[in-house]
């Protein structure tokens, strides 16, 4: 009869053998390189999150199909930082997701997060884990600002890269647009209390004052509350020439609807990239959303003739039209794949540190043009595109490409 100890020994020896047998062929074949994808798939921004996720998945699938990097198979690790309790992105969940990515040694780089509030929570964890991420859409400037290096990259090296410009450009350039194109003399500024919304509204407000626009007031709206009639009535009384909102769609849907009821329809109203979402067209909807101005912190690509085959392929694969941040997510993933390719070609082992260095020195031809980064991780080309929501019954109700009418590039001064 076997004693308990010998039984244990036998069992562990067996499992060891099995492990060797399983691991053997796998290591001889392709190396698996995982790319983390973090977006706010639950809550008020779920639809736009899906577009971003699809963009990254598409680049990964294409790379695998044409064996872009010999000997490497890419896998997506999709994580959701939105929670039901928050009703939108949740920084605490973002921190958990960052730890998950860092804990998995096959994850060599990541795409995301979609939201700046989450980025602030993830950046220090990714920094200690030496894991580079490329965000397609989080635009709060603090995260890559060297002033806050202690906070957001405590381990030293830049790990937070962007294929979009930041709100340090998005807010001010939109203020320039208000001043020189819309020619407004006064504005009321609102934000949704989030890291992104507050930062964007601050940046807008500072430049608006420099451009000679009188800021008649500034308030915050609670994204979980339903009723903004009180603050909107106050705005109606002050009668500014225009309204600016920094924030995302959880508060945005209600603000757009109630502003239509209370404020004059002719008053120009605008916001940032947080408004360029399918929710703006379907949940806020027409006629409420008609005429709102919004910006994207990237060049406008989805209507570019050279990008049309890509747009058609995206539509065929996911049965939904992409937006410009689906493109920046795709572009970011191309940068990661290119980085892995260069590390592999140099003969060095594919490690997080090597991939990060390769991303830092990237110069990759992407859909939006050549992408390269400064020492902080910010993209070198900074373009802010302005759109206006305009109903056109010739297109489907959620057509992101045609119902956000491209106005042009926002003035840099």
């Amino acid at each position: 009869m076997m004693t308990r100890r010998s039984a244990l020994l036998a069992a562990s020896a067996l499992s060891l053998l099995a492990g060797v047998a399983l691991a053997g062929p796998a290591s001889a074949a392709e190396q698996v390189v995982k790319i983390g994808i973090d977006a706010s798939l639950t809550g008020g921004d779920a639809q736009s999150a899906l577009l971003v996720k699809n963009g990254a998945v598409m680049a990964i699938d294409e790379a695998n199909a044409k064996h872009a990097v010999p000997g490497v198979k890419f896998e997506a690790m999709v994580l959701d930082d939105g929670t039901a309790t928050a009703g939108q992105y949740d920084p605490a969940q973002g921190a958990i997701n960052a730890r998950k990515m860092v804990a998995d040694h096959q994850v060599m780089a990541a795409i995301g997060p979609q939201m700046s509030g989450v980025g602030k929570a993830m950046a220090p964890i990714l920094s200690w884990g030496d894991l580079a991420t490329i965000t397609p859409s989080s635009t709060n400037p603090d995260i890559t600002d060297p002033k806050f290096a202690q906070q957001y990259r405590p381990a030293g090296k830049a790990i937070y890269f962007r294929t979009v410009a930041t709100d340090a450009y998005q807010g001010p350039y939109m203020a320039n647009f208000y001043a020189s194109v819309l020619k407004v003399k006064s504005v009321y500024v609102l934000d949704d209390t989030g890291a992104y919304g507050e930062g964007l509204a601050n940046a807008f407000q500072a430049q608006a004052e420099k451009d000679g626009i009188k800021v008649l007031g500034r308030d915050k709206i609670d994204p979980k509350a339903a009723d903004y009639s009180s603050v909107l009535t106050k705005i109606k009384q002050l009668n500014p020439d225009s309204l600016y909102y920094g924030g995302v769609m959880q508060a945005g849907v209600k603000l757009v609807k109630e502003a239509y009821e209370i404020l004059p329809h002719a008053m120009p109203k605008g916001g940032g990239d947080g408004l360029i979402t399918p929710e703006m067209l379907t949940a806020a909807g027409f006629p409420a959303a008609e005429g709102w101005y919004c910006t994207n912190a990237s060049p406008h690509v989805t209507e570019d003739p050279t990008a049309q085959p890509w747009v058609a392929a995206y539509k065929a694969k996911f049965n939904v039209l992409p937006d410009d941040y689906a493109i920046t997510a795709y572009d970011g993933t191309l940068v990661i794949i290119d980085a892995v390719k260069r590390v592999k070609a140099s003969g060095k082992p594919v490690t997080r540190s090597a991939v990060r260095d390769a991303i830092q020195s990237a110069n990759v031809k992407t859909l939006q043009g050549p992408v390269s980064f400064d020492d902080n991780g910010d993209i070198k080309d900074r373009v802010i595109a302005v759109f206006q929501v305009h109903q056109d019954k010739a297109y489907p109700a959620d057509d992101m490409i045609h119902l956000f009418k491209y106005i042009g590039v926002a003035p840099q001064s």
Binding site: T42, G44, D219, D222, A225, A226, T233, K236, Q237, A284
Partner: protein, 309 residues
């Protein structure tokens, strides 16, 4: 817009909000009056009610692109939707009581209250998983009628919300004061033991309290949708918390108190946004609640209850 117009407009805004909070607050108060139970599931019965209303409106052919209705057709659609929503929400409330709370009837301590929190989260997550996380456009059959009063505007939706709330609250008051079943409710609230000895079926009274409270929450859900033209799985928490505050402010267990509390909270929210700033609304609401409870622990209209044992 003169300053008078602004305050008139904020008064209109506040009264509409208050009417909605009052409808919700009544549900908390009815159940608390009978069982001394704070029913947190009520938050999300309201939310489910708004989705039931959305479904009913779609069934009646009201979609985002449909033209607004008028006259008899409008009245029929609104009454039909209200009836469907109230009955469905009421039955949901009864089901919650039968399935989750009745088995705990004789358990002492906070078990039943914790269960209602659990039920609330179940409703919340079922709607989230079943219908998705995005905000839903809530179509309105109401024509865009508006009556300018100086610089202020009174819209049809505000008049509607006031009328519906007033009628429902008057009906509830009549029911509680003047019907046999209402008397049984009041007797049970005063002393369930004695009520049972007098031949009142306490179990039926409890079911009735859940049905009425939840039906009013459903009506609140319909009003919410018609007023804001959207609904989402997340609307229950903020509205529910403020309505609960309204019930406590007015004196929990007291029907007129819940109505008064709702109106006060709505007005504080509107005027606070005007005079201070919208971001301070919750701070102001809860500061006033704390102050009232310090000086009148039983709420504005509540009386300190005799000790039930």
């Amino acid at each position: 817009m003169t300053l008078t117009d602004v305050y008139l407009q904020q008064l209109i805004n506040g009264l509409s909000l208050g009417a909605m909070y009052a409808l919700l607050a009544l549900g908390f108060t009815l159940v608390y009056g009978i069982l001394e139970l704070i029913n947190f599931a009520h938050f999300n019965v309201f939310m489910v009610g708004s989705f039931v209303a959305l479904g009913a409106l779609n069934l009646f052919g009201v979609t985002p692109n449909a033209p607004p209705l008028a006259g008899l057709a409008l009245g029929a659609v609104l009454l039909g939707t209200l009836a469907v929503t109230m009955v469905a929400s009421g039955l949901l409330g009864v089901a919650i009581e039968r399935i989750a709370l009745k088995p705990l009837r004789n358990v002492r301590g906070p078990a039943a209250m914790i269960t209602t929190i659990g039920v609330s989260y179940i409703l919340f997550n079922v709607v989230l998983l079943g219908l998705g996380a995005d905000s839903k456009n809530f179509p309105s059959p109401l024509p865009a009628l508006a009556l300018p009063i100086g610089g202020a505007v009174l819209r049809l939706r505000e008049v509607l919300i006031w009328i519906v709330s007033l009628v429902l609250m008057a009906a509830l008051t009549w029911f509680v004061q003047f019907t046999r079943m209402g008397k049984a409710m009041r007797a049970t609230a005063q002393d369930p033991e004695a009520a049972r000895m007098m031949g009142i079926e306490v179990d039926r009274v409890i079911i009735l309290a859940f049905f009425l409270g939840s039906a009013l929450a459903g009506a609140g859900g319909l009003m919410f949708g018609l007023y804001y033209n959207f609904t989402s799985y997340i609307i229950g928490f903020t509205a529910g918390l403020r309505a609960f505050t309204a019930a406590v402010l007015g004196g929990i267990g007291n029907v007129p108190g819940a109505m008064l509390g709702g109106i006060i909270i709505g007005l504080i929210e509107a005027m606070g946004g005007q005079l201070v700033s919208a971001s301070w609304a919750d701070v102001i609401i809860f500061s006033i609640l704390v102050l009232v409870l310090v000086f009148r622990p039983a709420g504005l209209l509540g009386r300190v209850a005799p000790n039930k044992s």
